[in-house]
């Protein structure tokens, strides 16, 4: 692999700028004449706008303009859309209500943007926003999905009667019902997957710049996918055609899904820049982030799992209600459907599965993908159900899983997915060994002697990553293709720029993508620069989410490198008068195999640009572009084990050990992969123990600050023990599967299974706060 190639633990190239304060995030951007925006937002969860009076605000110091939804509508700016069409089981298309970037007649959640104030300073903009008088007529609100479906519930969108967006199913209902009827045992459980706020540490921000002389827009934004932002703002929101709109996502401080979507603020700031004639910058404060960043999860599910007399799973039936909030966010519809129900087979060979999913409007912020997106919901559901079944059947949780593991590949599940490779038992065994599973009873006894309740729990997860084969997702309703593109640009002196449509917001692409090039050409990673995040520089791209940058983004780089190498070999063969098939590229040299003839890499590059002596008919230059469309999803999988001690006096849970055994396929940089797993587990533990979004009945967000929403902190978490049992992915050139979401997917059920084991009561919901755990423990005491 070489010291800097694939598989090497290379320190990150990008770190120096972040460590010395030289990172450049959107809010750091300053441009001549720039002014500040503050949004007037609805204080009500549901209300009619009777009128907006901005006259007082307009006369305040520093105020340049106050713009509202009627003006936006008059200028032809379009509504926000959801880009994935789902049809209900009766064949009808999903019911998408209108989402205006600035609400013109109705507000539907607390934080819904009503107007934008632009002023010389942020303080002046905020003061003036308070002086904008909006006359609201309050309407009744509903915040829980189950309540929104009830007769007589407040109606949120005229397009969606009874607040239902779609009623969708996947799998074979008849076969599933039959297997349940004939089962030796049926485990039933109801589960709630708690609503979360993503909380990337960098709040969302945007800087909209309109250049009147060129009739051109530039949008700096905190985005995971600037090309998608440009595409959507051009094609659907009518901001500007693509050739008149440059989107730049510079350093971005974390995403976790929440920065995939195009939000109202980008659109409104670009439009406001044209209207006011000044560049307009907006940065969310944390309260705004809680109020307006797309939330994640929020499922309520009923589950039935059927077993035969040998404890083999014969069927799974799932009925889920998913809360999508007040509007359909960009990919909201695919999260509780094709990213969720398709993973309900888990690591198990289950002959019959049926899932029914209803999605619902409520007066809450839109819900969309958050780290894992659908797959954590599927894993939590399955792994709590399997654990519950093991307890009911009197079988060890490991044994029940072993009996049901998929063991031959490829494996076609009854819910679309075709698993290509894996070894689930290897991860299970590794995790159990690392956790000293067999030694648990003595640790439990030792804890009991101290008055503590000790528990152990496991979770075996699978996810589908490497999103995604374009034709397949197109057939399932996706409005876009999910390929990736790359350009490899060899300079005349042999240094290399890789332009990629993937976007790094913490993942370390500037290092790992350079490692790939170093591995192929034997050049130092310092001579390789990664260019990303700017639609004027990078030809095209679909961005970073769904653990796709390695499997899809790097595969595109491989394809472009293949072309570069092929051309370099032709040039070298010509220069050294050798046969092209004898040319090899290694250690920064282009050699004729079996001879002492060689050329330094840079001389081949230089020759391509001087073009003094190229093969007949060859174009000058050494620069190639490739698009890569994956052949299949990838299927990372693993086993997580968590051991806890619960204090029966207080209900406080302490995680005493956390073990993660993962199969990510081939690994480019183990250090970075481990970091991804650490972070994912922390978010999963956050979901299981600490985090939960709460609205009161009137739709006021009660958890709108870091004082009210419990983020995992250093003293809430243990150090983690990791291992890898890798089976290479057969469907992409690097054999990689993706590692970004696994931690968040696999960890919540392991933790809850451990706590319920400790307290001897399976009725526990996330987050398992001390009060809930104490109450559950009391119920069994």
């Amino acid at each position: 692999m070489g010291v800097e190639g694939i598989g090497a633990r290379v320190a990150r190239k990008e770190d120096k700028r972040f460590l010395t304060g030289k990172g450049r995030y959107t809010d750091d951007m300053v441009t001549p004449g720039m002014k500040y925006a503050y949004f007037v937002r609805s204080p009500h969860a549901h209300a009619k706008i009777k009128g907006i009076d901005a006259s007082a605000a307009l006369s305040m110091p520093g105020v340049i303009g106050v713009l509202d939804g009627k003006q936006l509508l008059a200028d032809g700016i379009g509504n926000l859309i959801c880009g994935w069409m789902i049809h209900s089981k009766d064949g009808s298309p999903m019911k998408m209500g209108a989402w205006r970037p600035l609400a013109a007649d109705t507000v539907r959640y607390v934080g819904d943007a009503v107007a934008i104030v632009v002023a010389d300073s942020l303080g002046e903009a905020r003061d003036a926003a308070e002086a904008v008088a909006v006359d609201y007529e309050e309407l009744p609100a509903v915040v829980e999905a189950v309540d929104a479906l009830k007769a007589g519930a407040p109606q949120i969108h005229p397009e969606a009667p009874d607040n239902q967006i779609f009623d969708w199913e996947l799998g074979d209902a008849a076969a599933t019902d039959k297997a349940i009827a004939e089962a030796a045992h049926v485990t039933e459980i109801e589960l709630h997957n708690n609503r979360l706020s993503p909380n990337a540490m960098e709040p969302r921000a945007t800087l909209g710049i309109y250049d009147a002389a060129e009739d051109h827009y530039t949008c700096y934004t905190t985005s995971q996918n600037p090309h998608v932002a440009r595409l959507v703002m051009s094609a659907f929101y009518n901001v500007a055609p693509e050739n008149k709109l440059r989107v730049i996502a510079p350093d971005v401080g974390g995403g976790f899904g929440s920065k995939i979507y195009i939000y109202p603020e980008e659109i409104v700031c670009l439009w406001a820049s044209k209207k006011t004639g000044v560049p307009v910058k907006w940065t969310a404060d944390r309260t705004e982030a809680f109020l307006t960043d797309a939330h994640g999860r929020d499922h309520v599910s009923k589950v039935k799992m059927a077993f035969d007399a040998q404890n083999r799973i014969t069927a799974l039936k799932v009925d889920t209600i998913a809360n999508l909030g007040a509007y359909m966010s960009l990919f909201s519809s695919c999260v509780p459907t094709y990213l969720y129900a398709t993973l309900l087979s888990g690591q198990y060979a289950i002959p019959a599965i049926h899932a029914n999913v209803r999605t619902v409007y409520t007066n809450t912020v839109p819900v969309d993908a958050y780290r894992g997106a659908g797959r954590p919901e599927a894993t939590y559901l399955l792994e709590r159900t399997v654990e519950t079944a093991a307890r009911e059947l009197g079988v060890s949780p490991a044994e029940l899983r072993r009996i049901n593991f998929v063991r031959t590949f490829p494996h076609q599940t009854p819910v679309i997915m075709n698993y290509d490779a894996g070894d689930y038992e290897a991860s299970l065994n590794a995790a159990m060994q690392q956790a000293d599973w067999d030694g648990f009873p003595s640790r439990k006894a030792e804890a009991a002697a101290r008055g503590m309740k000790r528990g152990i729990g496991m979770s075996c997860y699978i996810e589908a990553c490497g999103l995604a084969p374009s034709q397949a997702v197109g057939a399932l309703g996706a409005g876009v293709g999910l390929w990736e593109s790359a350009e490899v640009r060899v300079n005349a002196v042999g240094t290399i720029e890789v332009l990629t449509g993937s976007h790094s917001h913490g993942q370390g692409h500037e290092t790992t993508f350079a490692q790939l090039v170093a591995d192929r050409l034997g050049v130092p990673i310092d001579s390789v620069s990664i260019v990303h995040g700017d639609t004027d520089k990078v030809q095209m791209g679909m961005g970073t989410y769904g653990s796709r940058s390695g499997a899809v983004g790097m595969s595109a780089v491989v394809k472009a490198l293949d072309k570069v190498e092929a051309k370099a070999k032709k040039i070298a063969a010509h220069l050294m008068e050798a046969d092209e098939s004898d040319i090899v590229i290694e250690n920064g040299e282009v050699k004729v195999a079996g001879t002492d003839k060689s050329l330094p890499w840079f001389q081949v590059a230089l020759a391509s640009y001087t073009a003094h002596n190229l093969p007949a008919g060859m174009e000058p230059g050494l620069k190639e572009t490739a698009f890569y469309d994956p052949a299949n999803f990838t299927f990372p999988a693993g086993c997580y084990i968590c051991e806890v001690e619960v204090d029966p006096e207080t209900g406080k849970t302490e995680i005493v050990q956390f073990v993660a055994a993962d199969d990510f396929g081939n690994i480019i940089n183990p250090m970075i992969v481990e970091g991804q797993v650490h972070g994912g587990i922390a978010q999963g533990i956050g979901q299981a123990l600490l985090e939960g979004v709460h609205y009161d009945e009137s739709g006021q967000l009660l958890t709108a600050s870091f004082m009210d929403y419990t983020m995992p902190r250093a003293d809430d978490l243990p150090s983690f023990q990791l291992s890898h049992q890798n089976t290479p992915c057969p469907n992409n050139p690097l054999g990689v599967k993706g590692c970004g979401e696994a931690g968040a997917i696999g960890s919540p059920p392991a933790l809850i299974n451990a706590i319920t084991d400790a307290i001897g009561n399976n009725r526990l919901t996330m987050p398992a706060t001390p009060l809930k755990v104490w109450e559950a423990a009391q119920a069994t005491a």
């Binding site: 700028r17 450049r24 303080g123 540490m201 960098e202 350093d251 971005v252 401080g253 404060d285 922390a682």
Partner: protein, 162 residues
């Protein structure tokens, strides 16, 4: 408007700002030192930690006028002569950062922590001391490792010098 005079990273600076201007906004907007970040509005996240007269403070919890006359070190002033401070170097070596947004505050808080504890740090203490700094990317695992390694290195260097 208030006049504020500070020594920032060894350089004397002064400027005018609204009375209500927080130190962090003065540093970011008036001085253009954008390494100090704002990650929340309730003094919880610690992305804005700087050193004021040698002690770490959350620069969002103090007005620029209150800080007037003090010596401030920001993340930009930590590396000396182009060499990373041992804590910065340790964060890089142990992959204690991902998106980099919380990193300046983490590093500044960690330097102060190591200084205050005089070499006596263990994992539990580091985790407890970092309670005021939120990171969403790393799960803290490698941050804790980086702080402990930097602590050992700085302590060894101090003992060697004595």
């Amino acid at each position: 408007m208030a006049k504020v005079t500070l020594t920032v990273n060894g350089r004397s600076v002064s400027g005018e700002c609204e009375d209500r201007t927080l130190l962090v906004h003065f540093i970011r907007e008036k001085l253009g030192l954008t390494g100090t970040h704002v990650g929340c509005d309730t003094s919880q996240c610690g992305a804005c930690v700087v050193h004021m007269d040698g002690k770490s403070v959350k620069s969002c919890s103090i007005l620029a006028v209150q800080a007037s006359g003090s010596k401030i070190t920001t993340i930009e002033g930590l590396a000396a002569n182009g060499e990373l401070h041992p804590v910065q170097a340790s964060f890089k070596e142990h992959h204690g950062l991902q998106c980099g947004f919380c990193t300046p505050g983490m590093v500044m808080a960690s330097v102060d922590m190591i200084n205050r504890h005089g070499g006596k740090l263990d994992e539990k203490t580091v985790r407890s001391e970092l309670e005021g700094n939120i990171c969403r990317c790393t799960g803290y695992h490698n941050i804790v490792k980086a702080v402990l390694a930097a602590n050992a290195e700085m302590n060894a260097a101090k003992q060697a010098a004595e």
